[in-house]
Symmetry: C2
Subunit: 92 residues, 2 copies
DNA sequence: CATGCTTACGGATCACGTAACCATG
DNA sequence: CATGGTTACGTGATCCGTAAGCATG
């Protein structure tokens, strides 16, 4: 489970659609397909139901969505806080 | 900022020593040196003070340490919860 | 000169994009 | 047959380990 995987997952979950999520992320569809598959394999359970219209979140996926958002929000705050510190003591 | 980077950072911070942290992580020192450097570059601020004895956390590093632990703990719970769900609906 | 961090370098793995493919309504 | 997800395949980037280098007490 990587942060990129979680970002991709959130985008797909929110769009309900690989194609639109790919546009939003500025990547192509195949990496998204693979990222979601890999995440499902790593966690050992399916996250989406594939329809001909798009991707619908399963209950376990719904729960992961809230967790993923928490994790990404925490990471983002951490980056912001570091950016604040870097004003006092820049790196190079 | 990746999860692996954060795990490495926590190990170095806790050991205060690249060599010991490397042993604990079962990798060699060079990847650790590079991971810490890259993290510092990405965040734009130094995290450790290099001494001839080892690595001492700077104040900004102290703060990142608590954040990193929060993030890793959250990721771990998420994995556990997924593992729970996977018992009901296995992936393949 | 022993200890501990860093730089150089080669090789394996990973992740992307393009293109071709498949399923369904 | 249009739409949307998947598989194949080649390439560039990333990350590791071994080996060599450098600083300091």
């Amino acid at each position: 489970m990587s942060l990129a995987q979680l970002e991709y997952f959130v985008a797909v979950a929110e769009e309900g659609h690989l194609t639109r999520a790919a546009e939003r992320l500025h990547i192509s569809q195949p990496p998204l397909t693979r990222a979601v598959q890999k995440l499902e394999q790593e966690l050992g359970l399916p996250l989406f139901e594939r329809t001909t219209r798009g991707m619908r979140l399963l209950p376990a996926g719904q729960h992961l969505l809230t967790r993923a958002r928490e994790i990404l929000r925490l990471v983002e705050s951490t980056r912001q806080e570091a950016a604040g510190h870097s004003q006092r003591s820049p790196f190079k």
